[in-house]
Amino acid sequence: MKLYFKSQKYINYSKRRARKSLKRRLIHKRRILHIRRSFYKKNLKEVSLLKDFIQYKQHVLAPDNLSLIDNPEEVILFFKKIHEILNNNQRVYVILKKVKNIDYGAITVLLSEMYMFKLKKIQFQGDFPSDQNAKKLIIESGFFDYIGRTDVRQNAEYLAGNDNQIITHAHKNVEPVLSLPIMKESSITIWGEKRIDSGLHSVLMELMQNTNNHASSGMIGEKHWWLSVNHDKKNKKVSFVFVDHGVGIFRSLNGKSPDSKWYGWFEKAKSSLGVETNEECLKQLLLGNLHRTVTQKSYRGKGLPNIKRMLDLNRISNLHVISNNVYSNVDKNEYKLLNKEFDGTFFYWELCENNINSPWTIQI
């Protein structure tokens, strides 16, 4: 038997209830519509893949080869999609199920992206690769040490005894003491005893200094740098990844104010050095020619050329650089333009047995 309310109080109450009920039904309808649209024209396999994260409006599928070194175009596109979702303040589900190959570079960048979501208090979820080797690499990389954290320690710390770890620093500072434990453990992995390879400390100082100097203020996560250290004891090699999400080398140069010596840098470089594209500019930057040509100051701008010099002096190996739309395998003198821009700067290098080193003369 339906009740009819005659008094105004209950009529108002009934109207409010009806509005709320309608609102809930409309939300539910939208959700069902979203699910149906997501499943539209998909086969059973794809539907089962989607079911896990259907509550997330935004999901991003990682490429099979999630390696920034080997597959920069697809991987950068993958990270760009994640970054766009972050800029829209939406939660995201990252699908790693189909990943067959992953490297520490991609893991480090993925972690840095996840961290930016956490800083904005936006949900970031994902799954594991089905490939067991890829899954193992992610677990052992130190990635999950940061999953539950939103705080960033005041000082970057290297934990002795961990074969793989990711270190970060939020305050743009240069942390020179970080090199000591890293050098100790890396030299033991590579040469079986403590040795000094001066290239490691030099490169770390140049990169931290660059992030400090060129990451502009205001953007969340931009003052973080991320360093990943990974020991390969079987091949007596230690690999390093250094990432920052600043504006990148070329955007930084393009953004200089008219009173800066770098203002109009590209035109100056083009007329003096004949460079026409960003990949040619990166090559000249690493050689030290660009800074001298553009600013006329020979006593600054030696950071990037020094990193290249460490490679040439065989203090480091296998150097790769990605910044904005340029990818470079510096070791092989390969420089190429990318279709999509990487948001920030990425460096990868290795220390291995045949790198030049000297006896450990330090009293620690």
Binding site: V174, P176, L180, S198, E206, N306
Partner: protein, 108 residues
């Protein structure tokens, strides 16, 4: 009579840092202002030679060395610096050439 003074950067830090104090610890500015400049002043007054030993550290960023030696040359002139200092760098011999270049190009 001993006409030289020796200072070793390793006594300051085995992990030399960046250029300026505000960028982080063990900076080139800190070493130059707190250690090198006072010693260099004494060297000038006594007409001795100041020897700076670069060995015994993990390595150098270019900004550290430039701020130390280039910074000193911007205060005392490159000619004065080159006349009164010597550099020891047996572990990474190329650093000696770097330092001389920083001194010579300090005002360029």
């Amino acid at each position: 009579m001993d006409n030289t003074n020796i200072i070793s950067i390793a006594d300051f830090s085995i992990t030399p840092g960046s250029r300026y104090r505000e960028e982080g610890p063990f900076s080139g500015q800190e070493f130059r202002e707190d250690i090198l400049e006072p010693e260099f002043k004494k060297t000038l007054e006594s007409d001795k030679k100041l020897i700076i030993n670069l060995d015994g550290v993990l390595g150098y960023g270019t900004s550290f060395l430039e701020e130390v030696f280039g910074g000193l040359a911007r205060i005392y002139t490159p000619e004065n610096i080159l006349k009164h200092i010597d550099i020891i760098s047996t572990e990474d011999s190329y650093l000696k050439d770097d330092v001389i270049e920083y001194i010579q190009n300090a005002n360029k």
